[in-house]
């Protein structure tokens, strides 16, 4: 098989003056859900600031409950943010969008869902499903809808497109359905694609095909993409940069190679050690982070990872650490990068540190 280098492309530099504005900028995005009649507040996304460059794939990694899917739903305006600002291609997006403005916005931001068995209406033909975004966003002219649908299907590798248009979802395999879902997202000719775990419901043998398709589309059409996953290796394969979420907070962000290669936040290090490694030994080093993700309605006062962190100092409990610059374009939310704070004694000496930063 040809071993080409898929990641040989310039990493977007969002702040360079001569480049166009980033595809997406999030400033302090926060979402608080009221749960039940008691009105318990659950902070699913907590003051997240990040950007996605034009033609860039940003991997968003975290465990369930980390808020990574909620971010995608906030960007797609399936939920309304509690606070924070958002800019799409340099233009601010109002927090509340209605009517035509919302439809125009939706043309530019499309979403790919996790489970292709659930995200296609079983009663509609593939042709109908793909024709709708063309009609809604005004790309359909009389007589050419079918041709456009076939072209879309051809582009995602379902050829001949015309023969797939007449089918219904149950006639397709999981991989083929996910291709249809991707074609639907492409139909509106969006600027930004939000891919929410697009491969985790698929069989191992077709996951790579879907990831390769997304990478090809990015290369050919210059799409920007938010790629959400819980799989570190998949995120590394897909992304230019990777952002790591924990309990609603952004805890580390940087170039993919660096975040996975030399993680600078103890939680990212834990994730990396927990990932299956065929070359490794199951019990090598062990995992020195007991417990589970904190209750989002009752977060620890300081760093969300402090109760489990073998490196925690008293200052971690006092307040949320800021993001520290730890390398080129690489930031981590950990006080160990402040030599003065790192000199404090350990808070949980019982949790034997396995690796030092």
């Amino acid at each position: 098989m040809p071993q080409t280098e898929p990641h040989a492309r310039s990493t977007a530099k969002p702040n360079a003056a001569d480049e166009p504005a980033p595809a997406l900028i999030l400033e302090g995005l926060t979402k608080v859900f009221q749960v039940g009649r008691s009105g318990r507040s659950v902070t699913a996304v907590n003051n997240v600031t990040l950007s996605i460059g034009r033609g860039e794939v940003l991997g968003l990694v975290g465990e369930s409950g980390s808020g990574k899917s909620t971010i995608a739903r906030l960007i797609a305006h399936l939920h309304e943010p509690t606070s924070g600002a958002m800019c799409l291609a340099g233009k601010p997006v109002p927090r509340q969008l209605r009517g035509r403005a919302l439809t125009r916005f939706r043309k530019d931001v499309q979403m790919i869902f996790q489970d292709p068995f659930a995200s296609l209406n079983p009663l509609h033909t593939i042709g109908y499903t793909l024709a709708r975004p063309l009609e809604i966003h005004g790309f359909a002219r009389k007589g050419n809808v079918q041709a456009q649908v076939s072209t879309l299907l051809d582009r995602v590798g379902l050829s001949p497109g015309a023969s797939y248009a007449a089918k219904r979802p149950h006639e397709l395999s999981g991989g083929q359905r996910q291709r249809v879902v991707i074609a639907r997202a492409l139909a509106a000719r969006p600027e930004l694609i939000l891919a929410d775990e697009p491969t985790s419901a698929l069989d191992v043998s077709i996951r790579l095909d879907i990831m390769n398709l997304l990478l090809d589309l990015r290369d050919q059409e210059g799409l920007s993409m938010l790629f959400i996953t819980h799989d570190l290796a998949g995120a590394r394969y897909m992304s230019d940069r990777i952002a790591v979420m924990y309990a609603g907070y952004l805890v580390e962000i940087g170039p993919a190679e660096r975040v996975i290669g030399q993680p600078q936040m103890p939680y990212t290090q834990l994730l990396k050690r927990a990932a299956p490694k065929p070359e490794g030994n199951l019990n090598a080093g062990g995992l020195e982070a007991p417990g589970e993700i904190p209750d989002l309605a009752n977060l620890p006062p300081g760093c969300p990872f402090e109760p489990r962190c073998p490196h925690a100092r008293a200052v971690c409990r006092a307040g949320l650490p800021r993001m520290y610059d730890v390398g080129a374009g690489h930031q981590a939310r950990c006080i160990l990068h402040d030599p003065e704070l790192a000199a404090q004694p350990l808070l949980h000496p019982a949790l034997q540190p396995h690796a030092t930063l």
């Binding site: 709708r132 139909a187 590394r236 190679e257």
Partner: protein, 631 residues
């Protein structure tokens, strides 16, 4: 129309109901052809007996009862269908709006629905019809529809709420669809069965309400309906006169109509919610009795704990048998961790379930044997199987945290398996439960908790503790950590590994995650299209995979380290397991297949190096004899 035909074909009950309904409709439509008399004409003798001129006799006022019955069908059916339609329309509109718009709209509609549900039906009907007295048939229809919509609206609202959160509705919203289109084009068609069922229920309610109102004299008693017929029969003391048929004929017709509606509803339910008739019994074994079990001398000096030999299993479907497991031979040594990997549909779960007699109908074992410590599990009768199961071997499934009963404390559920196998002493049960929890890393006070108080990872640990309760020699684990996050998965895998080493149990671990398996297992078997195509010690399989499928499967996982380069998946799909596969099952997807060999003969699994066997002509020319192709 097509939907209706499927329902009729698949459900005899529905077909009978529709037939009955059609007969009653014809009765109403063809009334003038079926009787020469007007239903209101009083030109005949009174209290005539059935027969002769008057098929069902005459009333106290000298009306022909048969004419009243067929003409009465018109108004009765009109009221039933129209009131049913109006009520269903109101219920559908309100239920769907509540679910789609949510928030305040939902709360307001929900309050309205609950108010109407709480108000007692018949008294409300009586009061409302008293108000609308003299309004004729249409006021009755209106009153019935207004009192009958709420139940359907409530059911629809809850179903639509679930539908509203389905991905395809979210996807339609993201693609820019407007609310009306989402409600009518995306959600409504998926609720068609429910709406139809709601319609037939309310139509039945309407017919019964009309009859009840008329019987009480609340309706317009000058009209001829089956209800008013009964009213007049009662008022004129038909039963005292011995004219029981005057009461029986309309009563029977109402009962028939009700039966028809109910049968159609049953049919819709049968087709839209197919329920597999569950037979709670051990796996069916279809193998022929061998004349004498070929006495296989102990060739392998360490006797395997589990020995699966030439096992073929699968499913019996209306289209014919599906052989999901094809002539598999595999063994597990005491204390060994065997990994079983492959794509979904490769037969790995079927193999584990068949070998442990847990394959539910329509699953069957076609042939072969599975011996646990020398005892053939497939030959045991249900009573023997109950004794062996859980004591000698136990199982942990993928979503097995869902097997915990939500209303029982964890303690009782841990006790349960031990009690079923004869441990009754509370002290011993409690001591063992605490011991088990320590073993899988859960605090003892969780014994007092209910399942909902535990996270997914904790629940899975409880299930593993229960599986270990009777110190089985073998635990079969079918994707036990797939639903969990990586960190929790790693923690649990480490507990499993520690427990195995301490207790010396064997584990068969099934997963699609090959990189995980390489890390965990002593030995790995790779399954493809129902066959084991390669088997080797884990680290040898990782270092030197021989079968092209294993190599591609290994390459399908992007690495965490090393160069970031483009990798290929495995193009194509496995062959259908409903057919015979007398050639290498992988040849169509294999980049190295030998034309004229791989697509004509089936490779035998041959040991190429010590402990490493592979079924591939690239490594051995041995051809496999097809044992089962003949039958």
């Amino acid at each position: 129309m097509k939907g209706l035909l499927t329902i009729l074909r698949r459900s005899p009950r529905a077909a009978f109901g529709v037939g009955l309904l059609a007969a009653l409709l014809l009765l109403a439509l063809l009334a003038p052809l079926l009787t020469p008399y007007s239903p209101t004409s009083q030109a005949f003798g009174t209290w005539l007996k059935p027969g002769g001129e008057h098929l069902l006799g005459t009333t106290a006022l000298g009306q022909d009862i048969w004419s009243q019955l067929v003409y009465g069908a018109r108004l009765t059916l009109l009221i039933g269908f129209t009131a049913g339609l109006v009520a269903t329309a109101i219920g559908t509109a309100l239920g769907l709006s509540a679910a789609y718009f949510g928030g305040r709209t939902d709360e307001a509609i929900n309050v309205l629905i609950n108010v109407f549900l709480v108000l007692p039906g018949l008294p409300l009907l009586i009061i409302a019809s008293a108000f609308l007295r003299g309004g004729g048939v249409w006021s009755i229809i209106l009153v019935i529809a207004l009192t009958g919509w709420a139940w359907g609206a409530r059911v629809l609202r809850s179903q639509a709420l679930a539908l509203r959160n389905r991905d395809f509705v979210q996807a339609a919203i993201v693609s820019g669809e407007r609310p009306a289109r989402i409600i009518f084009a995306e959600m409504l068609p998926n609720l068609a069965g429910l709406i139809a069922a709601g319609f037939f229920s309310t139509a039945l309610y309407a017919v019964l309400s009309e009859a009840a109102l008329a019987f009480l004299g609340m309706g317009d008693v000058s009209q001829v309906t089956w209800g008013t017929m009964m009213y007049w029969a009662q008022a004129r003391g038909a039963l005292l006169q011995g004219a029981w048929w005057w009461v029986a004929a309309p009563g029977l017709c109402i009962a028939l109509l009700g039966t028809a509606f109910a049968l159609v509803n049953f049919g819709i339910d049968e087709v839209t919610n197919p329920r597999v008739i569950h037979e709670a019994r051990a796996t069916r074994v279809l193998r022929r009795n061998r004349a004498a079990p070929q006495a296989e001398p102990a060739l392998e000096p360490p006797q395997p704990l589990l020995a699966i030999r030439h096992l073929s299993a699968g499913y019996v479907t209306p289209q014919g048998p599906v052989r999901a497991v094809r002539d598999v031979t595999l063994s597990v040594a005491p204390g060994e961790f065997l990994g079983l990997a492959g794509e979904s549909g490769c037969g790995k779960s079927t193999l584990a379930f068949a070998a442990t007699r847990l394959l539910d109908a329509p699953g069957v074992v076609f042939d072969g044997e599975a011996r646990l410590a020398g005892q053939d599990l497939l030959a045991l009768n249900p009573a023997e199987l109950r004794r062996v199961r859980w004591k000698d071997y136990s199982l942990v499934f993928q979503a097995s945290m869902n097997i915990l009963n939500p209303v029982l404390r964890i303690r009782e559920q841990v006790y349960d398996a031990m009690q079923a196998h004869g441990v009754q002493d509370r002290g011993r049960l409690e001591a063992r439960a605490r011991e088990l929890f320590a073993l899988v890393g859960i605090r003892e006070d969780y014994l007092n908790a209910y399942p909902h108080q535990l996270s997914g990872g904790m629940k899975q640990r409880v299930v593993i503790a229960i599986a270990l309760a009777l110190e089985p020699k073998l635990v079969v684990m079918d994707e036990p950590t797939t639903a969990l996050d990586v960190v929790v998965q790693r923690q649990i895998l480490q507990e499993i590994d520690a427990v195995r080493k301490r207790l010396g149990i064997s584990i068969v671990f099934i997963t699609h995650d090959l990189s995980l398996l390489v890390e965990m297992s002593d030995r790995i078997a790779i399954m493809y299209a129902g066959e084991v195509v390669e088997e080797a010690p884990a680290h040898e399989l990782y270092a030197q995979p021989k079968h092209p499928y294993t190599r591609r499967l290994m390459g399908a996982f992007p690495p965490l380290e090393g160069p970031r380069e483009r990798r290929e998946g495995i193009p194509g799909r496995p062959p259908s397991l409903a057919q015979d596969i007398p050639y290498c099952p992988f040849f169509e997807r294999c980049p190295n297949h030998l034309p004229g060999t791989c697509d004509v003969f089936k490779p035998a699994r041959v040991e190429v190096t010590s402990g490493h066997s592979v079924a591939c002509f690239l490594h051995s020319p041995a051809v496999k004899e097809e044992a089962y192709a003949a039958d």
